[in-house]
Amino acid sequence: MVEATVHNRISSIAAFALAGAFLASAFAPTPVFAAERMEFQLATLNGTAFVKLDDFVNRAILINVWGTECPPCVKETPLLNAQSQIYTNVQFLGIGTDDRMSSLRFANRFQVHYPQLQAPKDPSGLLRRLGDLHGALPFTVVLDTEHRMCASRLGEVNAEWIAAAVKKCSAD
C-alpha cells in the first residue's frame, strides 16, 4: 500500500518534470545571446531595492560585472569610478558576483559612486544574456538609449574603450 503510494508520488513528479521539459522545449524562444533589448531586475548590494533597466529611460547604460577576487576587476574599478563622473549622460551600473558582504567590502574599498547590484546566486544565465557565455570576468557591456546591446568587452577596460563605446552608444 505504501509502496503503491510512493509509486504514484514518483510517477507524479516524473510526469511533472517531463511535461515541464516538453512545454519548455516547445515554447522556448530561440536563444538570444545578444538580446535586442536588454532587461533585468536585480537587488542592490545593500539589499534595499530592486533595480530595473527600465528605471533608466532613454539613457545609455554601462554595465560592469565584477568579482572581488578577479585581478583585472580590481585594476579597472578606479577607472570606471572616475569615468562615471565624466560621462554623466551614461548610467553606470556594477554587478557583483560574490556574496553580498564580500561585494560590499569591495565597493566600499573603492568608494564606488555608481549603483552596485547583486548578481543572482547563479549569475551564468544573466551573463549569457549579456553576451558573456562563459562567465569570465570582468565583463563590461554598454547598452544604447533603447537598452539594446551596443558594445561589450571581456577583460579589463581602458579609458579609450569606454570613450569609444560611450560615443557609439549614447549618440542617438
Binding site: 510512493v6 583585472p72 558576483t97
Partner: protein, 807 residues
C-alpha cells in the same frame, strides 16, 4: 596606395586567458588563437592600435590592441566566420573577412585607404591595462571538461551555512544526503541519488586519492577551509577520469589566491564542540602560497541515558600548504599537501581511551534506558525465550567501545600547459598514505595502511571542428592490515594475523573523449569511452554520452547516459566480524557495475531558478559479504540488480532584494532483493524528502534557515527482517517502517566592521533524535547485541557561536 596586411595563424588551443574565471563560470569552450600582424603601407609595424574582431553579422566579439611589433592577438576564438576591423581616423575602417578553422594557417590581407601618417599613436599606458584580449563567448562549453558538474557549493555558501566540513556543506540538498553507517564510530558517507555512499567517489582537485579505508573515517576529516568550492557530479556518466564513481563524484577544488589574505575563525558550542581554523595566502609575481590549519573537537553524546553514545566524540587536527605557479616553463602548477590526524571514540562516553580499553569487566551501562528498553539495567530480554539473557552483560566499557586513530598524508599536484598550436597538456599526480589504528570492543583490534598513487596525462586538441581529449592514467591502491580477534570462541581469538583485510590493485587505463557543438551551438555533445586493465579483474570498458540543449538563454536540458565500475575493496567496516572469521573467500568477487541515465531541465532568470531531474541507476554484481553456514565470509556478486529511480525538483525565488526562498522535492523508487541489501550492508533510505530554505541577507545581517522533511523508510525490506528479524532490548520487534521527521538548521552572522564578523548557528532546532523514538541498539532472536540500527538523526539540538576575522 597605403596597404595594411594581416597574417592569421590558427591552431587548436584551450583557454589560457588572464581573464578571471569564477566558480560559476562554465568551462570555456573550444577556441583557437587568432594572431594578426598589422603593418602600414611602408611596412612598419602599426603599433598600439585597436583591432576589432566582429562576428559575421557585425557584432563585436572582441577588441585588442597591437603591440610594439604590430601584433594583435585574439586569444580564444571559436572556429567560424569573422571580420577583422581596424578603425582608422575620421571614421575610416579597414575590414577583412576571416574564416577561422581548426586546420591549416590561413593568411589574410587587409587593404586600407588610411594614410599611415594620419594615425596617431595610442599611449602605451592604455596597452598595459589590457589583460584580456578576448574570448568569443558563443559556446557554453559545459560538457567540454573531464567531469560534468551538476551542482556546486562555493565558499560563500559554505560560509553562509556555517559549514566546517564537507559533510556540513552538502546537507539539505535534493539528490545529496549524508548517510550515517555506524552509531558508535560515526562512519558517514555521501549518498548521491540515494545510492549507497561507497559508490560516491571523492577527488581533490580532480585527483581520486580516497579509498574505502580513508573514506570510512575520512570524510569528517575534510575541512572546507581553503576550498574555493565543492563540485557535485551526479550519475555514472558524469566523469571521464573516475569510472569507479557508480553514483557520482564529489570534487573539492582548492582556492587559488588572488590577493594577500589572512583569516581566523573560532567557534565553540555545546557538547564540547570547539573549532578553530586559520588560513593565510601570499601572492607573488610568480604565483602564490597558501597555508591552512584546523583544530576541531567534540564530546561523545548520549541523548537518552544508556551511557552509550549515539554521536561519536573526536579530536582532529589538519595542517596544509598549497603552492601555485603561474608559469613554470610554460606550466601552470597547483600543488597541495595536507597532514591530518584524528582520534575518535564511541560507545562508552568520554575520551580517556586508555581507561576505556582497560575497563573490561562489569556493567557500566543502563540497558533499560530509552524507548523499548530492557526491564533490567544489566541485561536484556532474549526474544526467542522471552527471558533475560544470562549471564548479564559483563564486558565493561571496552566491550562496546569503538576507538579509531587515523593519520593521513595527502599530496596532489596538477600541471597545465598550452602550446602554440592550440594543444593543451594536463598532468596530474596524487599520493595518499592513510594509517588507522582501531579497537572494536566486541570484535577485534585492527591496524591498516593504505597507499594510493594516481597519475594522469591527457592532451586536448581541436580536430575537424571537434575537441578531442586523449589520455592515460594509472591508479595504484594497496591496503595491508593486521588484526587480532577479540571475540571469544572464534578460531583466531587473541592471535595477531596479517592481511586478513588486504588487497593490491594496479589499474592502468586509457580514454578518449570527443566534444562538438551543433545547430548554432544550441546542442553540445560529449561522448567518451575508457578502457581499464586491472591486475585482478582484467579489462573493463566504460562508455558515456552527454548532450546539452540550450533552449534559450535561460533554459537548458541535459541528458546523460553512462556506465561505471568499482572494484571490491575493503570490507572491515562493513562487518568487523571478518577480522575474527576463519577465512575470507574473495575468489568469486567481481567488479560492481552501474548503468545510469539522467535527464535534467534547468531554468534560471534574475529572480527565479529551478532545476528538475530524473535519474535511473542500475547496479549489477553488487558486492555481497556473506557469512556462510560454516561461519566463514564469502565475497560474492549479487544475483539480482539493485536499481534506484528518482525524480527531484529544486527551485529558488528571490522574493525581495534581501529574501530568498528555496523549495526542493525528491522521490525515489527502489528495486532490490532484501537479501542483497542486508549482505551488502546497505542502510535504509527514505521514499521521499522535502527541503525548505529561507535566506535573509540585508545590511550587516545574514540569516538562513534550512530544513529537510524525511519520508518513511522501509526498514523491514532494507534490513531484510524476513531472514534476519531484529528486536528491541525488551524483546519486541523493531518497526517495519520508520516515522517521518523534520531536521531544521539555522545560522546567522553579523558583520561588525570590515574585518570582524560574529556568527551563531543551531543545528537540529526541533531536537529530533532517533534514539528518543527507536533505539540504535538491537538484538537478534537469540539475544546477540548489535549497535548499528539507523534511520534518523544521532544528535540533538546543538548551538555554536563564533567569530571570524578576515584581512
Amino acid at each position: 596606395m597605403p596597404r595594411l596586411s594581416a597574417s592569421v595563424a590558427v591552431g587548436a588551443m584551450i583557454v589560457a586567458s588572464s581573464a578571471y574565471i569564477p566558480s560559476f563560470a562554465a568551462t570555456p569552450a573550444l577556441s583557437v588563437p587568432l594572431q594578426s600582424e598589422v603593418k602600414d603601407s611602408l611596412g612598419h609595424p602599426w603599433k598600439h592600435r585597436d583591432v576589432r574582431l566582429l562576428s559575421s553579422d557585425g557584432k563585436e566579439v572582441s577588441t585588442t590592441t597591437t603591440d610594439a611589433n604590430g601584433i594583435a592577438r585574439f586569444q580564444h576564438v571559436a572556429p567560424g566566420k569573422y571580420v577583422i576591423e581596424i578603425p582608422g581616423v575620421n571614421g575610416a575602417l579597414t575590414r577583412k573577412d576571416v574564416l577561422v578553422t581548426s586546420q591549416g594557417n590561413p593568411t589574410v590581407s587587409l587593404v586600407t585607404d588610411v594614410k599611415p601618417e594620419k594615425v596617431a599613436s595610442t599611449p602605451k599606458s592604455a596597452l598595459e591595462q589590457i589583460t584580456v584580449t578576448g574570448v568569443r563567448a558563443t559556446e557554453p562549453g559545459a560538457l567540454r571538461g573531464d567531469i560534468v558538474m551538476t551542482e556546486s557549493v562555493d565558499s560563500q555558501e559554505m560560509a553562509k551555512t556555517g559549514a566546517t566540513s564537507l559533510i556540513d556543506a552538502l546537507t539539505h540538498r535534493p539528490g545529496i544526503d549524508i548517510q550515517v553507517e555506524c552509531s558508535v564510530c560515526n562512519v558517514r558517507s555521501i549518498t548521491l541519488d540515494n545510492l549507497p555512499g561507497r559508490f560516491t567517489t571523492l577527488t581533490l582537485d580532480g585527483v581520486p586519492i580516497f579509498g574505502p579505508a580513508s573514506n570510512a573515517y575520512g570524510l569528517d576529516m575534510l575541512g572546507v577551509n581553503g576550498l574555493e568550492r565543492i563540485d557535485v557530479s551526479r550519475g555514472a556518466g558524469s566523469s571521464l577520469t573516475t569510472p569507479e564513481s557508480l553514483a557520482g563524484t564529489i570534487t573539492l577544488v582548492t582556492k587559488v589566491p588572488t590577493k594577500d589574505t589572512a583569516e581566523i575563525d573560532a567557534d565553540a558550542g555545546n557538547f564540547g564542540y570547539r573549532h578553530e581554523t586559520a588560513y593565510g595566502a601570499k601572492v607573488f609575481d610568480w604565483g602564490a602560497v597558501s597555508v591552512n590549519a584546523t583544530n576541531q573537537s567534540h564530546y561523545s553524546v548520549d541523548g537518552v541515558g544508556y551511557g552509550i553514545s549515539q554521536f561519536t566524540g573526536y579530536h582532529r587536527e589538519l595542517a596544509g600548504i598549497s603552492l601555485f605557479a603561474n608559469d613554470l616553463d610554460g606550466f601552470r602548477i597547483k600543488t597541495r599537501y595536507d597532514h591530518i590526524e584524528e582520534k575518535r571514540g564511541g560507545g562508552p562516553l568520554g575520551n580517556d581511551y586508555s581507561a576505556i580499553l582497560a575497563n573490561t569487566t562489569g556493567n557500566p551501562f543502563n540497558w533499560s534506558a530509552g524507548p523499548n528498553g530492557s526491564p533490567y539495567s544489566n541485561t536484556w530480554i532474549e526474544p526467542s525465550t522471552g527471558q533475560p539473557v544470562e549471564p548479564p552483560y559483563d564486558g565493561g566499557e571496552a566491550g562496546i567501545a569503538q576507538i579509531i586513530f587515523t593519520v593521513r598524508n595527502q599530496f596532489v599536484s596538477t600541471a597545465d600547459r598550452d602550446f602554440d598550436d592550440g594543444t593543451k597538456l594536463h598532468l596530474a599526480f596524487g599520493y595518499a598514505h592513510h594509517e588507522q589504528s582501531s579497537w572494536y570492543g566486541m570484535d577485534s583490534d585492527y591496524w591498516d595502511n593504505q597507499h594510493q598513487i594516481y597519475l594522469d596525462a591527457n592532451l586536448q586538441r581541436l580536430l575537424g571542428g571537434a575537441l578531442f581529449t586523449v589520455g592515460a592514467n594509472y591508479k595504484s591502491d594497496q591496503l595491508s592490515s593486521q588484526s587480532i580477534s577479540t571475540t571469544t570462541g572464534t578460531p583466531y581469538y587473541g592471535i595477531l594475523r596479517y592481511d586478513v583485510d588486504a588487497y593490491q590493485y594496479r589499474t592502468p587505463g586509457i580514454y578518449v573523449q570527443g566534444y562538438e557543438a551543433f545547430f548554432d551551438e544550441r546542442l553540445e555533445i560529449n561522448a567518451s569511452v575508457r578502457e581499464d586493465d586491472n591486475n585482478e579483474f582484467g579489462s573493463v570498458t566504460t562508455p558515456r554520452l552527454n548532450a546539452l540543449w540550450h533552449h534559450s538563454d535561460t533554459l537548458s536540458s541535459r541528458l546523460a547516459i553512462g556506465t561505471g565500475y568499482r572494484l571490491p575493496t575493503s570490507f572491515f567496516e562493513q562487518d568487523h566480524g571478518i577480522l575474527s572469521a576463519f577465512s575470507v573467500d574473495r575468489s568469486g568477487a567481481k567488479p560492481e557495475r552501474s548503468k545510469n541515465a539522467s535527464y535534467s531541465l534547468n531554468y534560471a532568470d534574475d529572480r527565479f531558478a529551478v532545476t528538475t531531474s530524473l535519474n535511473y541507476t542500475r547496479i549489477t554484481d553488487m558486492a555481497l559479504f556473506v557469512n556462510n553456514a560454516a561461519n566463514n565470509f564469502v565475497l560474492e556478486p549479487a544475483q539480482q540488480p539493485f536499481t534506484v529511480a528518482n525524480a527531484d525538483i529544486d527551485g529558488t525565488w528571490q522574493a525581495t532584494p534581501s529574501d530568498a526562498f528555496t523549495v526542493g522535492l525528491e522521490g525515489y523508487h527502489y528495486q532490490f532483493n532484501p537479501y542483497d541489501a542486508y549482505n551488502a550492508a546497505l542502510f535504509s533510505r527514505p521514499e521521499y524528502r522535502v527541503h525548505l530554505s529561507y535566506d535573509h541577507d540585508s545590511g550587516p545581517w545574514d540569516f538562513n534557515i534550512r530544513s529537510t522533511f524525511t519520508g518513511p523508510q522501509n526498514l523491514a525490506k532494507w534490513y531484510d527482517y524476513a531472514d534476519n528479524p531484529i528486536y528491541n532490548l525488551n524483546g519486541t520487534p523493531k518497526p517495519d517502517w520508520s516515522p517521518t521527521f523534520w531536521v531544521v538548521d539555522m545560522h546567522t552572522s553579523y558583520q561588525f566592521n570590515q574585518w570582524v564578523s560574529g556568527e551563531l548557528g543551531i543545528t537540529n532546532l526541533t531536537n529530533y533524535q532517533q534514539a528518543k523514538h527507536d533505539s540504535y541498539l538491537f538484538q537478534d532472536p537469540y539475544g546477540n547485541l548489535n549497535v548499528t540500527y539507523i534511520w534518523g538523526p544521532n544528535i540533538g539540538r546543538a548551538a555554536v557561536a563564533g567569530v571570524k576575522v578576515k584581512f
